[in-house]
Symmetry: C2
Subunit: 437 residues, 2 copies
């Protein structure tokens, strides 16, 4: 299989541009094994360098339009944002027969219909996974993964700034203006936060999701947009009393009466997964007629989460461009000759915290003899519950949570404990996973 190069040009070295450069560099080997082609950054167009990424020998131009004109560049990656220069840049790239990858929600929401037509005329493709919900591959899910469904509705937390503010209002009873100031200080909100807190950013993203879901041209001006600026701590508290959380939702529904497109504060039942999406995370709930409800959750913004989506589109295009491949997308996602025979870790060496349950005599010294055995094995007890004995019983259940310990080590400690006269039967064991990275 010939390994060819696919040459891309990156325009913009801001947060997402530098993140994209870094991810492409760091994961170059895996990306080329997945794409079955080497992705080369032929040119970067940026008004200034960004200390967050080391360009090395990569050619840089201070004129981003050079990227759109460079005949080597097959895919132009537009990461400058806005609907002014970015629009001209993308139009020129498409007219020059280049594919485009963008993260620009405003550009797609407001000018997508024209840009898609221009791409089609020029027999090239625009991809925009990074425009909505950061690194969560929701565009791909709607466009491909759920392609067998009639999408009935979708609802999403698609602006991390607003969700961070609402989470803080709820967790700490603070008021809107106070949390907004903190969000700006933390870089979660812009100096002009209007687009976030008034719902304009969410509206850009919603119209993109709705068009993909329902098969209609983009119509950004039809989205009803209401921000979160008038919510009070009382509302947040009363909603909670009633069994709800307040989220800034984008909602799109289709019915025989028409399509609803709306962004506004919304009470949702606290039992819903969506109600428990906090901080700067995003999540989109989609109801399809065949699959039912599906939910997609993850980081909605940030350098590398957004870069993850940009690179996914680049890999898709690299797979499209590679000629001589009938099988553009390899069966296991990596070129067959690049699969690695990774060693499997034996279970004895797997390290996890543990839940333990045992029965022990309820008398002095028993607990300390048990904990001494753990201590000898370097295992600490993080939590302990001792239950009252049943009537007429001298033994009690002891329940423990330990810190992380290798299974082999735990096997030995447990064997020693089971051999104690004061402990009857086997020690029940269940592994614990924190699931936090």
């Amino acid at each position: 299989m010939t390994s060819q190069a696919v040459k891309i040009g990156i325009c913009g070295l801001g947060t997402v541009g530098s993140g994209t450069f870094n991810v492409l560099s760091r994961n170059a080997e895996a990306i080329s094994a997945r794409a079955q082609a080497n992705v080369e950054i032929a040119l970067v167009g940026a008004r200034r360098d960004n200390p967050a990424c080391d360009l090395g020998d990569t050619p840089v131009s201070r004129d981003i339009f050079e990227v759109a004109r460079d005949p080597q560049v097959q895919v132009l990656v537009e990461l400058i944002g806005g609907t002014g220069v970015a629009r001209e840049l993308v139009e020129e790239a498409l007219a020059n027969g280049k594919h485009v990858v963008t993260a620009n929600k405003a550009l797609i929401a407001e000018f997508g219909n024209e840009l898609f037509a221009l791409a089609q005329q020029n027999n090239v493709v625009i991809r925009y996974e990074a425009a909505v919900a950061g690194g969560i591959p929701i565009i791909k899910a709607l466009r491909e993964g759920l392609a067998g469904n009639r999408i009935e509705w979708l609802a999403g937390i698609i602006n991390g700034t607003g969700n961070f503010i609402l989470s803080e209002m709820r967790d700490k009873g603070r008021d809107f203006a106070d949390v907004l100031a903190e969000a700006q200080a933390l870089g979660y909100a812009e100096a002009d936060p209007t687009f976030d807190v008034e719902g304009v950013d969410a509206a850009h993203k919603l119209v993109i999701l709705a068009s993909l879901a329902f098969g209609m041209p983009l119509q950004f001006s039809s989205v009803y947009t209401e921000g979160i600026t008038r919510l009070t701590p009382d509302d947040v508290e009363y909603a909670e009393e009633l069994g709800y959380r307040i989220k800034h939702l984008g909602v799109a529904k289709q019915s025989d009466r028409g399509v609803e497109l709306r962004v506004h504060p919304t009470l949702i039942p606290e039992a819903r997964l969506l109600a428990n999406v906090n901080g700067v995370k995003n999540a989109v709930l989609v109801e399809g007629d065949a699959v039912g409800p599906t939910l997609y959750y993850g980081a909605g913004a940030g350098a590398e989460p957004t870069a993850s989506a940009v690179v996914a589109d680049i890999v898709d295009l690299a797979r499209e461009i590679s000629v001589g491949q009938n099988c553009r997308v390899p069966a296991l996602g990596f070129a067959a000759d690049k699969l690695r025979d990774l060693p499997i870790l034996p279970m004895q060496e797997v390290v996890t915290p543990w839940y333990l349950r045992m029965e022990a005599e309820d008398r002095p010294g028993v607990l300390s003899s048990i904990t001494a055995i753990f201590s000898e094995h370097g295992i600490s007890i993080e939590a302990l519950i001792q239950k009252a004995p049943a009537a007429g019983e001298t033994r009690v259940p002891l329940i423990m949570l330990t810190n992380a310990a290798a299974q082999g080590n735990m096997d030995e400690a447990v064997a020693t404990i089971e051999a104690l006269d004061s402990v009857s039967g086997e020690v029940a064991r269940i592994r614990v996973e924190a699931l936090d990275g």
Copy 2:
């Protein structure tokens, strides 16, 4: 743009086969607009018909191998299950130059390496989205949507039977054997439930996810598998006391010590979204080095959820097969000339329940005058909170939840209420969404 036909053959008319037939029929128009090709079921191979689907004029053969031999058929959809006949059928289809779509986790987990090689030799493709987590497009997420990441680990609830049992044990304090019997009666568990409750089914699915994530050949026999049969109601209760839920997780992690592949009961902190995935639903949490944690949730089994995944693969292949298209995947997911100008519902006609907050005089008759106005507008109050007046105040906050009402109707009711002498200022309003279908 020529609209060509892509001819498929469906083998098996069981739960998933009939579901697939029904989804392809019901959503034929949208599917062909998305695929930019007409998907035609050229032949069905099934030992018997299924009353759940009306085959109409579709040709049927009682010899499923006829589907693998029929030169018209471009894509064979294997929905018979198992690793005996299904394996021979798939091998014959691939050898005959047909693409294959399957839902067969055991087949892929145990024979995938050989089948992928056979597919590659014959320049065709096998797709298997439906083999893991039903309709949730997790295979596509790992293979494409997260292609920019080094996947560090993933953890999933990927067997609905086991999750249903554990949810019932926790919600109702019942024991394992008792809930298993009910699961069997409800059709959530097989007569021989071993594959589900001992974790074998989850292990099949885990090894597929891990290979896609880490870029390694499938190695089913390396998965450590421990079932849920020894969990007691006490364990479920004690875990809860400690702040955890017990789930039957499949976990795959990569580190420089090796790859962990394991299925076993696991305590997870109750705050995690995964801890709140209940009943027969599935969810997979994936940690990528660029994107961070992402979660995918939905129906892991069932006729139409699984069919949703089968059809997504069929659409992918139809897009691959369609010649003369440079742009195989249309920008908005539907062929440009098939986008529909759907009417947007004016906000006045949007119907939702409402949260309302107002200030009213705290004296007899005020509440009834307010509720009478709602009653005149056909709006009912589903919940009401009246707060105590602040010191020296004669007015109190009144908080209400209404049933579903059109915005225009609510506008009128609220205007009338705001005009009452007993009500001061504006009525604050927030829409409510149940998000349950």
